[in-house]
């Protein structure tokens, strides 16, 4: 009688355990189906979102590529640069498709003009500014009767400031540019130049002279504008001058992931100044790429070298 009772309890227990196991199994099954459905749904939504992002990305890319074509139009053609400076190179490596760096080369009766310009930022915002600056620079040079590069930069400073801040009630724009602006006199062996936050390097007879730009940015338009100086450089035939934005010296890389630095750049220029111009460009480019390694390009890069 007792045995029967124990057996009955055991069966009851087992039945209950079985019921719970079945419930657990059923829950597991439902949970799996629900999760698969949820993940499939999420996957579909992600695929749709990715397609949409791809479409938008393609449109933006096409737009930027077109902007690049416009920006290339403001750069002097290779033919023009080589006509004005027959033995010269331009190493131009925008960080993005469009660039905040650009160069300018033109002439009038008295001068060959040359400028290396670094507008605030890079990419699309920088590129917008290059278009404005190029246009302002052209109009200033059309009116030029002076041999003072600093005066021309002061005019550019004023005009850029008013151009960017002409709308009343709109927050002031602090954007601007750093520049090295050169005027090579046609009738002499003189170059007049002025610079902000950049350096001009003059290599002559295996010595290098470094001209430091003013610690002032064009577009600021303040009393500090007085810091702009007009330099005058006399050169011998075969001397080299180099102009550069800060992209190359600020590039991170090397063994310790540090900046390339001005000192290394200066030493490199001194080392290569006697080489043929194409070789110089190639060495600077290779040195830059070797330094960068697999690191992202920090900024737009622009270096110009002119054999005088």
């Amino acid at each position: 009688m007792q045995t029967t009772s124990i057996n009955e309890n055991s069966v009851k227990d087992l039945t209950e355990q079985l019921r719970k196991l079945e419930e657990k199994y059923e829950s597991q099954k439902q949970m799996t189906e629900m999760t698969i459905g949820f993940l499939q749904d999420a996957n579909e939504k992600l695929t749709e979102a990715k397609d949409e992002i791809d479409k938008v990305n393609k449109r933006v890319q096409q737009s930027i590529n077109y902007a690049q074509r416009i920006q290339q139009k403001i750069l002097p053609s290779d033919q023009k640069v080589h006509r004005l400076y027959p033995d010269s190179f331009v190493l131009y490596k925008p960080k993005d498709v469009v660039s905040g760096d650009f160069y300018y080369a033109d002439e009038d009766d008295r001068f060959n003009y040359l400028a290396v310009i670094d507008c605030t930022g890079h990419g699309v915002p920088g590129a917008f500014l290059t278009l404005i600056v190029n246009s302002l620079l052209e109009s200033i040079l059309k009116e030029n009767k002076s041999n003072r590069a600093d005066i021309l930069l002061k005019k550019l400073d004023e005009r850029l400031f008013y151009y960017l801040n002409k709308n009343e009630g709109v927050k002031k724009i602090q954007d601007g540019l750093d520049i090295t602006f050169c005027m090579k006199e046609k009738s002499s062996n003189k170059i007049y130049f002025s610079s902000t936050h950049q350096r001009l390097y003059h290599v002559s007879s295996q010595t290098i002279e470094e001209y430091k730009g003013a610690s002032y940015s064009i577009g600021e338009f303040s009393k500090r504008q007085e810091k702009l100086i007009n330099h005058q450089l006399e050169f011998e035939q075969g001397d080299m001058i180099y102009l550069s934005t800060d992209g190359i010296i600020d590039q991170f890389g090397g063994q310790n992931n540090e900046k390339f630095k001005r000192k290394n750049f200066k030493n490199l220029l001194l080392k290569i100044a006697d080489y043929p111009i194409e070789k110089q460009q190639k060495i600077i480019d290779l040195t830059f790429e070797k330094w960068r390694g697999n690191k992202v390009q920090t900024d737009d890069v622009l270096v110009m070298g002119i054999k005088l």
């Binding site: 719970k20 657990k24 597991q28 439902q30 949970m31 629900m34 999760t35 949820f38």
Partner: protein, 151 residues
């Protein structure tokens, strides 16, 4: 083992450990943090046992010292019963919010089980789609990876 309401009264204002324990769950209160914890002990909790422990919490909630946060430690769970979760989410949380103003909920999910995490998201999405007047927007729900992290 279930702590009776009278026992709870006698242990108020002291640091006590276990208030409730059965085969599936354990409830305890960490007084210095005003944290009430319900810990799952098994891979799976049948619905009647699930409701039992949460009813215990509801019935005795007013007897605890002020509870700032409620933590549901699901680390041992591997399977959940969606109707249980629905009840917990829709009924129990609302009741605790409206009756006792419980807004701070903390959860610990099983660690390194992305599949379980996805299932929780799936279950929650299903509930949110089914019920439009959830109190969820009024609650602070926080995820931590261990009790130590919150304590």
């Amino acid at each position: 083992m279930v702590t009776t309401p009278s026992e709870l009264k006698t242990t108020r204002n002291t640091l006590f450990d276990c208030l409730y324990k059965d085969e599936y769950t354990k409830v305890y209160f960490i007084q210095e943090k005003n944290l009430l914890v319900c810990e799952a002990l098994q891979e799976y909790i049948p619905i009647e046992d699930f409701k039992k422990v949460f009813h215990f919490i509801t019935l005795n909630f007013s007897l605890f010292d002020q509870v700032d946060k409620f933590l549901f430690d699901k680390q041992s769970l591997r399977v959940f019963h969606q109707p249980s979760m629905e009840w917990y989410f829709v009924f129990w949380k609302r009741e605790m919010f409206e009756e006792y103003g419980l807004v701070n909920h903390v959860k610990i999910l099983p660690q390194n089980l992305p599949w379980f995490e996805a299932s929780v998201k799936a279950g929650r999405a299903q509930i949110e789609e089914k019920y439009k007047d959830l109190v969820i927007d009024k609650l602070n729900i926080e995820y931590v990876s261990s009790i130590e992290e919150i304590v």
